[in-house]
Amino acid sequence: MNQITKRFQNKLNIASGRVDMTHGAGGRAMNDLIEQLFHKHLHNDYLDQKNDQAILPAPAAHERLVISTDSHVVSPVFFPGGDIGSLSVHGTVNDVAMSGARPLYLSAGFILEEGFPLADLEKIVISMAKAARDAGVAIVTGDTKVVEKGKGDGVFISTTGVGVVPNDLDISGANAKAGDAVLVNGTIGDHGVAIMSHRENLAFETEIVSDSAALNGLIADMVAAVPDIHVLRDPTRGGLASTLNEIAQQSQVGIKLREDDIPVRADVQAACEFLGLDALYVANEGKVIVICPQEQADAALKVMRAHPLGKEAAQIGVVHDDKDHFVTMETVFGGGRIVDWLNGEQLPRIC
């Protein structure tokens, strides 16, 4: 009888079990998964209410709500310096924080592929829990769906973040002005190269780890010290080059870079050399482009360098008037070039 009761409770076999179609069917198996895996690691007052929604307190009168959403499909799901779980927290926390906001809550939607190991799923959820705790946000509601084998790639995670921003703070990609300084908080291209070094058909030995990190702490320090920040944006997919082009378009300005001033790790540069890539176009997950008046650049750099995520912060360029809204660069060689949007996907050159 005891044995039957135990089976009825259906303790998840996390060590060697795998996701099957019942885990997404809405029945007991799904409930087991939610209880024994998601709630166990992610619990907080909102999640513990076990409703289909979380009811959140209203923001203060001097604040506005900020919301952002992001889907994560990274392959491989575990990579040096992070995994899809921590990435799904960092990505959305950063998107919310780029308005100058304080991120508070996250929702998380999981699409699991039949056959995905429960042990890996648990590792991912534990990693999400830690990332959320470290960033000071709570995962307050979630959803799980299972798709048949072959219809997903292990696990996809969508997160939506909610935060609050003071009414008087106006940070936007449209605010860059001629004369502004363009800053970045550290080396570029680390994330993309770390991921590539672990792709199945490309594995190469390197100590490069992803820069995946929640930037809301750094942003809070900056907003406090340099209230006149014009633009904050994280250069994720498409890299620094594409993000600067977005800003140039949105603000109707040109941006001039100095290649000598752009921080790139030597091993990232080496990997880009032999892969035929340009670090300017390689993804980052813990970097922020900061655009502020030139006279406040030193103050901003000082705050950035005092933060663990901004030790290698540098001014990489300036904003100027340009009717074509080009991003241009003085190369390490002393010549000039434009820095275009990423076209298609960065494909390796063959010779």
């Binding site: 002393g334 070039r337 076209n343 494909l347 050159r349 063959i350 010779c351």
Partner: protein, 382 residues
């Protein structure tokens, strides 16, 4: 990794630029064709033109392997995966090259064809080993640089008895292309746009050596300086070429002597000779039909030759009307002379092959310097 930044030093570049400025004669122009896409890429990526005097002009040559492959061969590659249901392994750049009927390998893939991007022939062999029930074809393209790895794959496949693997061979030969360009130079009536000399291929020459250019230099009386792909290489080799032109000399000189010897890589040459033989002729995009300008797989390796194994149709695919790639590949036009450039033809939506690879001159113009206009000139904003 060492020797990356060493060849990109600004101070050395300035010194060479001063030497070039002192060497060039006012009142004449210098038309230098950089043969390889790698040179074109370096010139644009680092802004080399900005450091050159106004009367030195780079003319972009046909040395981009993706750019010179004609549409019918890409149609055949698509046919291999769509009709013969093979796993087609290809270098990344080939994926987006437009073929007939606005198709490309990347579009075929989206429609269900099994196209895999690989980084080396070894990846393709591994895919064949892992999929014994499927036919796996390696889409072999490129000049002499990429031929030895293909040769090695053929030899390995034969040794292992890997019967589900084959090679669709499209390897082409550099000296034929240089000869062809110089032949068609005779037809150029305007002496002001005639080529004065060549920056010779770097990686290709590491395999074939500098010796194969000697005949062309003797025959056509145009100097060649073999140049590496780093921006300092391009500048130093340009200086050497300008000196030859000023002295009235016509020699094969080797700037890239840290890698290239006169004889080249004999081991690689032996490997290629063991597996490949000359084709009677081959169609090049832009340059047309050229005799003895490409390689085919030797009969001893016939079992691994996709052209023998699969029946391929004769495609009559032609370039998009108005596309100036043929003239651009021969140095007769610049990308900005093409009316499709930047209108319907961009790297996102390439109409011609020169817009696809980052080594193609149209893509380089678009990505690094489209705003400069004219002679990729001096209006740089940076």
């Amino acid at each position: 990794m060492k020797y990356v930044n060493e060849f990109r030093q600004k101070d050395l570049a300035r010194t060479i630029a001063q030497n070039i400025a002192a060497e060039v004669r006012p009142g004449r122009d210098y038309h230098i064709m950089e043969f390889c896409g790698g040179h074109t890429h370096a010139i644009f990526r680092y802004g080399v033109q900005d450091l050159m005097p106004d009367n030195v002009h780079f003319v972009h040559g046909p040395g981009c392997p993706v750019c010179v492959l004609p549409i019918p061969r890409i149609d055949n590659a698509i046919e291999l995966c769509e009709k013969h249901n093979v796993i087609l392994c290809t270098y990344g750049d080939m994926m987006r090259v437009p073929a007939s009927k606005k198709k490309s390998l990347i579009k075929a893939k989206a429609e269900g064809a099994d196209v895999r991007m690989v980084y080396s022939t070894q990846d393709a062999l591994e895919i064949a080993r892992k999929n014994p029930d499927r036919e796996v074809v390696f889409f072999a393209i490129g000049f002499e640089t990429t031929t030895p790895p293909t040769a090695l794959a053929l030899r390995q496949a034969k040794k292992e008895g890997l019967m589900n693997f084959s090679v669709f061979c499209n390897h082409v030969l550099t000296p034929s292309a240089i000869g062809h360009i110089l032949d068609s130079e005779d037809a150029v009536a305007d002496p002001a746009v005639k080529l004065d000399g060549f920056l010779g291929p770097s990686h290709v020459s590491s395999v074939i050596g500098s010796q194969p250019y000697e005949a062309a230099v003797a025959k056509y009386k145009k100097p060649v300086v073999i140049a590496g792909f780093e921006p300092l290489d391009v500048m130093q080799a340009s200086l050497m070429l300008i000196r030859q032109i000023n002295d009235g000399r016509c020699e094969v000189e080797n700037e890239y002597n840290r890698v290239v010897t006169r004889e080249g890589n004999l081991k690689a040459q032996k490997l290629v000779a063991e597996t490949f033989e000359l084709r009677d002729g081959f169609e090049w995009r832009g340059l047309g039909w050229m005799e003895k300008s490409a390689l085919k797989i030797k009969p001893a390796f016939a079992d691994w030759d996709a052209e023998r194994r699969f029946e391929l149709s004769e495609s009559k695919g032609k370039d998009v009307k108005g596309c100036a790639c043929p003239e651009i590949l021969r140095g007769l036009k610049k990308p900005l002379d093409c009316k499709l450039f930047g209108t319907i033809c961009t790297p996102e939506n390439p109409q011609g092959s020169c817009m696809v690879s980052s080594e193609g001159s149209c893509a380089a113009y678009w990505s690094y310097g489209r705003f400069r206009g004219g002679d990729e000139g001096k209006e740089t904003a940076a």
